[in-house]
Each structure stands twice: as C-alpha cells, then as structure tokens.
C-alpha cells in the first residue's frame, strides 16, 4: 500500500481512480487510514458481498502462508503497528482489479496469499495500455 501511496500522482495522471475496499469496521478503517495511506477513498464492505461478486476466496492456509508469517515476524522485530482484526475473518484474501472506462475488467489479480500484490509498475503498465 505504501508503494501505491507514493505513486498516486502517476495514477492521477493516467486518469485512474484508486479505490480501496475493506471489510473492516469503520473505526478500524479510520485508524488504518490515519496511520497508513489516506489519499485514497475507502469503501466498506462488511458483509463481503462485493468480495464474493469479485470471486475473492477465503483460505486459512493461504492467508497464513509462511510468507505471511515471515512478514508478521519482521514487523514484530521492527516494532511496527499491528491492527486489531476486530474478530474479522482472517482467512479472507484480497485482490486487485483494473476496470476501464467502459466497465471492462482489464486486470484480474486475486491474491495467492495475504502478502501477494501485483507490482505497481505492472498496474501502471496495464493502465497505460488502455
């Protein structure tokens, strides 16, 4: 997310609106916005209806893949912030989608595990090809 934030001007220049979708509670999302990345709009999907519509899976094994555990270990070593999941489903995976002006999906990237995100360069390359 930090990489997306750092390059928000490039998305603006490419006439692309970055929209974050979260199933977190409003207080948790507001805290996350304050402490991480505030320029992007966050939409709340507590019931995860849109997660299901975009076919994003739940998987305890993939969400807690060794890569994710390693990431958390490194955050703990660096004394970085951990957010309370507020009892939310920690097996829910995320994903990234690029939708063009006609409403057509031009990138479909469901995360393989909880650390998996497409590189920002790849996102911008897709957008610039539209």
């Amino acid at each position: 997310m930090a990489q997306l934030c750092a390059r928000q001007d490039e998305f603006n220049s490419a006439h692309t609106r970055v929209v974050i979708v979260s199933f977190g509670t409003l207080p948790a999302v507001q805290k996350w916005l304050q402490e991480t990345c505030s320029p992007f709009e966050v939409l709340l999907d507590r019931e995860r209806e849109v997660y299901r519509a975009y076919q994003l899976e739940r998987s305890l094994w993939r969400a807690w893949h060794p890569r994710a555990l390693w990431l958390y270990f490194n955050r703990w070593i660096k004394r970085e912030t951990f957010y309370d999941a507020h009892g939310d489903d920690t097996s829910q995976l995320g994903g990234d989608f690029i939708i063009d002006r006609q409403g057509v999906l031009r990138l479909v990237y469901p995360s393989r595990d909880s650390t998996d995100r497409p590189p920002v360069d790849d996102l911008l390359a897709v957008i610039q090809s539209l």
């Binding site: 929209v19 975009y54 994003l56 957010y83 309370d84 995320g94 990234d96 690029i98 939708i99 409403g103």
Partner: protein, 41 residues
C-alpha cells in the same frame, strides 16, 4: 472472474458515509483500480 468481461456493479458506503457505485465512478470517465484488502490485522 474473466479478463475482458464486464466488472460486477456495486454500491458501497465510503468511510465518510457517502454512497459510491462503480457506475458512478465510470460516469466520471476514469479508469478504476480496485484494491480489496485482506483483514486489517
């Protein structure tokens, strides 16, 4: 979810309580990068 298929429409509330739909964003003539988060923990 297939590439080059129509994106599912949605309407959700943003963190300020305002209703936002995909079709509404489309109407502004912008592309959209939708980033679905995992849990915030």
């Amino acid at each position: 979810m297939k590439l080059n298929s129509k994106a599912p429409e949605f309407t959700l509330t943003n963190s300020e309580g305002r209703s936002v739909s995909l079709s509404g964003i489309m109407a502004e003539g912008q592309h959209v990068l939708l980033v679905f988060l995992r849990h915030l923990g």
